[in-house]
Symmetry: C2
Subunit: 393 residues, 2 copies
């Protein structure tokens, strides 16, 4: 492509960041031609002539040769991506939820139509994790990818641990700063991290797993007792997504709070930053660290996806197309810390071994081993009860 | 390329690491066919049928479609690379010195012959810094690249600062562990870091500067006084290479020890690890961290360069080919700590401002501002005298 005329969907935080990045870079070769928005009455920082509420104004403009989609609504995002790919127009997307639920069909669609779908901005904002997994760590030496994938929940945990602010106050701060949604479940209950992990797993190990089948548990149940427990053990609680090779054929993945010791790289990932540790058989550990959220970092990540199209860059999904692939398994034992309230809570859990137990009227916990499959079986219950669960490696 | 038949030059640390990585990965599509070595009498871990001392055995084998060069001798490496490119055969190289001195002509040669030259393994071992600068940070938002680029000297500094081991003992340890050459100048005097920085600068800002024109000063003059000074100020001394955009047209680069405060990412980069901080206008700072030296990490980095050829990957040198490019300038002021012995040493330095001064019979230092041009003018003298110089930002 010599010149990229962008049809942009969405002009929220990321859309504005992209606009500013393009203004700053002034490539002259990539310009936003039209922006489709939902609400025409909202005040905008750029001339109204750019805006439309009708997707057709973008899809029927033959000069537009790249669709960039940075809207929240995953269903609408899906429609846009499918429509663009079917028209043979390449797409840059930042919608992790949409991607996590539809990757296989979107991969097939790219193959069929020849159009490309890029989404490095969807996982870890400004850290180029997908492209590195796709291009650089493209061989069997990869052992695991593990990281802090959600900036909002990490911001909250940093405030709690470093400034001794309460969970509720920290959440309010994150919302005021624009890191967390008004409905914070997406962030604090590990859904956002899970969707990113599903995308990462595709590019790390070539395996796709529907998010609904996976375990995610977040930090919304975190109590003062859990925080004190972590402090006493000199560890920090971080919300971690991880995918790991178990043997030559199996991988496992989940999103859980984890008790992280000082010697771990992600121990020092603070505030809204993301950090990803890539472990391999030959290169030990690589650590990539950067801003995972926010208007400008994400906008510039979208820009990198856009300029990659100048060179016709596309994901090849090499690992996904291999004949011998890794399979996801739930058959994996995790050591966890579980804080619970009642015996009926505890009876939910099928521990294979309990190595530590504390009981008082106010605070009860066990440390023990449990299978991932057992946790997935009861995941619907976990958030309903007054309990907190964290991996304790 | 469907199948890669490798002609390998060199079977030292990196060559063996590559062999092991290929065995482990077992792509079946990339195999080492012939290995050219200097010394046929040395004991080898693999069958002797693989070896030859005659380069023609590789160059005249029409089945060989990729040359991999991991030898120490930069002049011989240059001959190999030129011969291969001129024959239209692509090359993977790990020789930073050869690259740093010959990049422009090697770029031209690639354009002319259509063959590709890849060398991600040459800078920072297992950290994919070149490819990321080339592909991901390919726009004007980049502000600086700064990092610990040499594992051996960092290992020595870690031992000194964390374990209070003397410089000489730490150097001996590094040599025993195979991190440092028997002639350690290449590592400890900042030449290795400088060559890597020249390569990084090409891919970060599209500008080439001959290493001889640049300032590099290392840690071989470090004394107990300098170490005590750093400890008293609660900083660590790290050997840092950095390239930085000064304005819209100028960049500057140099390799110097630096006094690093606790709040900096590279403060915690220890032992033989490398760490690179990429700073941009929109994404604040990205930090990449990993093993920068050693057989397996570097071997696996070479492997990534090899497998990239399956997809005909090549560096595009986009920034180098731009009409408006950045220019290197020495016109830049640095704040430094200078420990010196005699007034004649001090008179070498043309400080524009001195902000701190200490004098006793045993130990004398100044902290002040000096221009990079002035330092380059006297760089031949620096190592001859009993003085130590470090940037003190």
């Amino acid at each position: 492509m010599d010149r990229i005329n962008i049809g942009l969907f969405g002009f929220g935080t990321v859309g504005e960041g992209l606009w500013q990045a393009l203004e700053k870079v002034d490539t002259g070769r990539a310009v936003i031609k039209k922006i489709c928005i939902k609400n025409p009455d909202k005040g905008r920082s750029i001339p109204s002539t750019f805006f439309t509420v009708n997707p057709d104004d973008i899809f029927q403009d033959d000069e537009i040769n790249l669709i960039v989609e940075v809207i929240d609504d995953d269903k609408f995002a899906y429609d846009i991506v499918v429509r663009a790919l079917n028209k043979g127009i390449s797409v840059v997307s930042g919608n992790k939820k949409m991607l996590a639920y539809h990757l296989p069909e979107l991969i097939e669609m790219q193959q069929k139509t020849g159009a490309a779908l890029l989404y490095d901005a969807s996982a870890c904002g400004s850290i180029p994790v997908i492209r590195n997994l796709e291009e650089y760590y493209d061989n069997d030496l990869l052992i695991s990818v593990k990281g802090i994938l959600n900036g909002s929940s990490n911001f909250i945990l940093s405030k709690i641990f470093n400034e001794k602010i309460s969970y509720d106050t920290a959440l309010k701060m994150a919302q005021d700063l624009g890191f967390a949604e008004s409905n914070p479940t997406f962030d604090v209950d590990g859904f956002d991290a899970l969707f990113k992990l599903v995308i990462i797993t595709m590019h790390a190990f070539g395996e796709y797993v529907n998010p609904d089948k996976l375990l995610n548990f977040g930090i919304s149940n975190l109590s003062e007792d859990d925080i004190r427990f972590a402090r006493e053990k000199d560890v920090r609680i971080k919300l971690v997504g991880q995918v790991e090779k178990l043997d030559d054929t199996n991988i496992t993945l989940f999103v859980l709070p984890q008790l992280i010791t000082r010697d771990k790289y992600i121990y020092s990932v603070e505030d809204e930053f993301n950090g990803v540790v890539i472990k391999g058989e030959f290169y030990y550990k690589q650590f990539m660290f950067g801003q995972g959220a926010g208007s400008k970092p994400t906008g510039s990540a979208v820009l990198s996806d856009i300029t990659a199209r100048f060179h016709d860059y596309r994901y090849e999904y090499k690992k996904y197309h291999r004949s011998t692939k890794f399979c996801y398994t739930e058959n994996h034992t995790i050591r966890v810390y579980l804080r619970y309230e009642s015996d009926s809570d505890l009876s939910l859990f099928n521990f294979s071994e309990i190595t530590e137990r504390y009981w008082s009227k106010e605070y009860k916990y066990v440390v023990g081993k449990i299978s991932l499959a057992d946790l997935i079986r009861i995941k619907g219950e976990l958030r309903q009860r007054n309990l907190f669960l964290a991996a304790y490696p």
